[in-house]
């Protein structure tokens, strides 16, 4: 009796925190997404409608008929593609980096981990502005490439999905490096020796032993990059420009200029459901195949 009282007492802070900061806002958002939009922003609390979800796929033409509108699907599609490419590039860059780090002497490893986390110390906004200076026409990269005669006119990279991808890759690289590094660092070196011993060359030892055993890190890193990448706001906003809008900017717009809170909330929920579906599909696959 006393023990259970004490247990609930000790659990209370975290339960309250999760309730107040996670469940409550999510519930509120879900509720808002089912309401009628107010005339000047906000919502009409007493009027329920599914308009917000209908608006995601359809629009009303002049005769008030519902016609399919794929504009928002396009934005979702672009976001998924950009996030997927970002995940792929960070994976390609991060894996060799993490592998190299994991095989350094222990003291240097600590230093390298520290260096990887250094970008966290600077504001993400500032770092994205820095990329504007680098990527814009007549910016550092454009100027150097022009001087070297490698580009004819300008590079015209800024305000394209490419610029967004570059910014996201840069921002999220540590989130890919660290989980992979952790799984490689604790990997038993004797397993690699055993692979060599049994006739595996470097490539086979990598593909048959190192890679499978670092999969938890790879998957963790991919989730940490793909999910925030999908809803990223700052990089697409600053580097992507108006023609390559992503979900994050779209949602922000609904709560800002468009004054359509229910639609913004509905978009957030569609995104949330997409992410949850992807994660549970992954979890289901992992359950079938017991972890090493």
């Amino acid at each position: 009796m006393m023990a259970s009282l004490r247990r609930s007492g000790l659990l209370a802070p975290s339960v309250l925190t999760i309730g107040a900061l996670l469940i409550l806002p999510l519930g509120l958002m879900a509720y808002v997404s089912t309401l009628e939009r107010g005339p000047t922003g906000g919502v009409i609390w007493s009027q329920h409608t599914t308009d917000a979800y209908v608006q995601f796929l359809f629009e009303r033409d002049l005769t008030d008929r519902l016609v399919v509108n794929t504009d928002y699907l396009h934005i979702f599609g672009r976001s998924i593609v950009v996030a997927a490419i970002t995940t792929a590039i960070t994976l390609i860059v991060a894996f060799p980096m993490a592998l190299w780090m994991a095989f350094q002497p222990p003291r240097r490893r600590l230093l390298l981990v520290f260096i990887v986390t250094v970008p966290f110390w600077t504001n993400i906004l500032v770092r994205n502005y820095a990329w504007i200076l680098l990527l814009r026409n007549d910016g550092v990269i454009d100027w150097v490439l022009g001087r070297l005669g490698l580009t004819g006119e300008h590079i015209n990279v800024l305000y394209t999905p490419l610029a967004t991808t570059i910014g996201l890759t840069y921002s999220f690289l540590p989130y890919m490096v660290l989980p992979i590094y952790v799984s490689l660092e604790k990997l038993d070196r004797r397993l690699i020796e055993a692979a060599f011993d049994l006739g595996a060359n470097r490539w086979l030892a990598f593909r048959r032993v190192i890679l499978p055993l670092s999969m938890p890190g790879v998957v963790g890193g991919a989730i940490l990059v793909f999910v925030p990448g999908l809803g990223a706001f700052i990089s697409p906003e600053l580097l992507g420009g108006a023609k390559s809008m992503m979900i994050g900017s779209l949602i922000q717009q609904q709560f800002g200029q468009s004054r359509n809170w229910p639609f913004g909330a509905a978009l957030s929920f569609v995104l949330l459901v997409l992410v949850l579906l992807a994660l549970s599909a992954h979890a289901a696959r992992y359950r079938r195949e017991p972890k090493p």
Partner: protein, 383 residues
């Protein structure tokens, strides 16, 4: 003799031992072909700060169970890793069947290793683990499946093909590691203290199992251990190592009965070591003034160490040629009883008697007794 490759300090003693008529097995086996030939191997670590191996030469014969025995840090594991190719020697050459291994990466050497920690792949099941080496060699699927089945039968793991290592006991993982290494039909199987993580009963079982396996597959085994009992039980020949040197190479019997150095005598089994000075061809005097006769003259040094195994000394009634002593402690260990006695002059001595007639102690602590040291039981070593 060249096959027993010892360092110069102990070679003359070994030669003596081999020349004895009862050392015939070694002389006969010398005609066998050499599988692994290590020629003056030197290996240092930490930019030369630690000398793990110092000019070691060693010839391991085909199809023998060879053990590298020594305390931790003696260089035995380093030598094994050099043969496997995980480390590269600073100087010297290793030949396998007469061909140098120098410069070959581990995956091009026809040797396989059983690791101390087993190093069974945790993401693969038992059958996949055993098949790994054959898949690396791109053998046809049918051949791999047959070989996996054969290997699992050999190590008695049938029926566990689809288990993951996490679902296996330590002993079973050990068997998987063994089957995995043997599946490749290596020329030499290297075993790096593979039994040290097992409990005593399982270890004893695996010792006999390994010996059986070696006979069955007919592959040269190079076994590393710090456990002298294990070495004596399993080996055809043993190399005793210390501080980067090989002190003695020989059959278990040679090593036990004719140790070439004080360290070997002390490291292998229980031993009484008595410092003595020479007073005749085969007569020596202990510090206490007691004189002892030996069967062998020993090396031509005036200061020697006399080595007497506890089971070769006899407890006797006082008087006659028996040395007077006083029993300090009696330790009953089941099969045997150990008497710790003090000789004249305060010298401690250990006698071991088999309890052939049941657990009846022949003396108790404090008793005055005599001990008999038969001349043939005494080995003479240079000090």
């Amino acid at each position: 003799m060249s096959a027993s490759g010892t360092n110069p300090a102990s070679s003359n003693v070994t030669r003596l031992a081999v020349a004895r008529p009862d050392a015939a097995p070694a002389a006969r086996a010398e005609t066998a072909t050499v599988a692994v030939d290590c020629q003056s191997i030197t290996k240092t670590f930490g930019a030369g700060a630690v000398r793990a191996l110092d000019g070691v030469s060693l010839a391991i014969r085909s199809n023998e169970f060879f053990t590298l025995l020594g305390p931790s840090g003696c260089g035995k594991t380093t030598l094994l890793r050099l043969i496997a190719g995980f480390e590269i020697q600073d100087a010297g050459t290793i030949l396998l069947d007469g061909r140098p291994l120098d410069g070959l990466p581990p995956y091009r050497r026809p040797v396989n290793t059983v690791f101390q920690s087993y190093a069974v792949f945790p993401h693969l099941n038992v059958a996949e683990n055993v098949a790994f080496g054959l898949e690396m060699k791109r053998r046809p699927r049918a051949e791999i499946d047959a070989r996996v089945k054969e290997m699992l039968g050999l190590v008695k793991l049938e029926g566990l093909e689809s288990r993951k290592p996490a679902q296996l006991s330590g002993g079973q993982q050990q068997r998987v590691a063994l089957a995995r290494a043997l599946a490749n039909k290596p020329r030499v199987l290297l075993l790096d203290e593979p039994l040290s993580a097992l409990d005593l009963k399982l270890r004893t079982e695996m010792q006999l199992e390994l010996k059986r396996l070696q006979h069955e597959v007919g592959i040269t085994f190079v076994f590393v251990t710090h456990d002298q009992h294990e070495a004596l039980t399993m080996s055809d020949r043993i190399a005793v190592m210390r501080a980067g040197h090989i002190l003695q190479v020989g059959t278990p019997e040679e090593i036990y009965e004719h140790p070439s150095a004080r360290f070997v005598a002390d490291f292998i089994g229980e031993t009484n070591l008595l410092d003595a000075t020479r007073i005749g061809t085969a007569r020596f005097r202990l510090a206490s003034g007691v004189e002892l006769e030996t069967a062998e003259p020993g090396p031509p040094h005036s200061n020697v160490t006399l080595v007497i195994r506890p089971e070769r000394a006899l407890l006797a009634p006082i008087g006659g040629s028996a040395l007077p002593a006083r029993v300090e402690q009696v330790v009953y260990i089941g099969s045997d009883t150990i008497y710790l006695v003090v000789l004249e002059g305060g010298l401690r001595f250990r006698i071991r008697e088999q309890n052939r007639d049941g657990p009846r102690s022949r003396a108790r602590a404090g008793d005055a007794v005599g001990i008999v040291l038969p001349p043939a039981a005494i080995r003479v070593l240079a000090q």
